[in-house]
């Protein structure tokens, strides 16, 4: 068997700086402690970057607390990175790989903090949005029928969890992490609910004869 196939993913792909990071983070003693401190500093920089760009959301928070959130995010990201070093495949820079953990931790913390005192909106709000979309001035009659059919399918064609997730995330702008925390589940599990609900709605609308377009802008 070729030597390359017998190496670990990290050994196979990692560039030299990445190998240095991995080796130093596993070196033990003062070298490891220094590397961990450097990594924490990088993660803190990323967390501050994320919290800085979310300034508008943070303004809603009582007493600020952005720096505290950044520190917590960096601490949690450090644990995540150190616990997942074996998962690093070397297909990006080590720093880019590490940054994503800090950005995720910071973003989730900001979203949850911003929603701490807020109730998840009721379905009525979602129905109003659908009705508005279907009845806006100048709209074709087919659009009113489409949005009426959409509401019917959401109400009658989806399971309770699928409806709850779709209405909250897609219509009422509830962050999926916030909903996941309240329902004691994960972002991935809820997105699976959302994905299944969307497929079901597309199929139901197609069965009713509605033609739905493709992707929209990111």
């Amino acid at each position: 068997m070729a030597t390359a196939l017998m190496t670990t993913p990290t050994q196979r792909h990692a560039d030299s700086p990445a190998r240095d990071w991995i080796e130093r983070l596993r070196a033990g003693g003062p070298e490891e402690a220094t590397a961990v401190a450097e990594l924490h500093a990088l993660l803190l920089k990323a967390a501050r970057f994320e919290i800085g760009r979310r300034g508008a959301e943070l303004r809603h928070l009582r007493g600020g607390g952005g720096e505290d959130l950044a520190q917590q995010a960096a601490d949690d990201a450090l644990l995540a990175v150190l616990g997942k070093l074996d998962d690093f495949r070397g297909e990006s820079r080590f720093t880019t790989w590490a940054y994503k953990f800090a950005l995720l931790e910071a973003a989730v913390k900001v979203r949850r903090r911003a929603w701490q005192q807020r109730e998840v909106p009721l379905e009525d709000e979602a129905w109003r949005r659908l009705a508005d979309a279907g009845s806006a001035a100048g709209r074709r009659a087919e659009d009113a029928e489409l949005f009426a059919a959409l509401r019917e399918e959401i109400e009658a064609g989806l399971g309770p969890r699928q409806r709850e997730v779709l209405v909250a995330v897609a219509l009422n702008d509830v962050p999926i992490d916030v909903l996941a925390a309240r329902l004691e589940t994960t972002r991935g599990a809820l997105y699976k609910n959302l994905h299944d609900a969307r497929r079901k709605l597309r199929a139901a609308l197609a069965a009713r004869g509605f033609e739905i377009g493709g992707e929209e802008e990111r």
């Binding site: 297909e91 979309a133 990111r218």
Partner: protein, 73 residues
């Protein structure tokens, strides 16, 4: 909210897409390819569709892209 926007939100992308877990696993590679001008969507199929459908992952993507670009990758 515009007609197409609300339909996009409710019906999501009409293409095969990654899961949130797969998105997170591939995000660093995808972003570096993109920032380097490489064909990121060809190399990481399903990512674009997932970012269209998942607002939280799309925010994570934009943050990492902007941070990496700012670092002068």
């Amino acid at each position: 909210m515009k007609r197409d926007e609300i339909l996009g939100r409710v019906l999501g992308p009409d293409a095969p897409e990654l899961t949130c877990e797969q998105c997170f696993a591939e995000l660093d590679r995808y972003v570096e390819l993109l920032v380097a001008g490489q064909p990121a969507d060809e190399r990481v199929p399903g990512m674009h569709a997932h970012l269209d459908g998942c607002p939280a992952c799309a925010e994570d993507f934009r943050s990492l892209r902007d941070l990496v670009a700012r670092q002068g990758h």
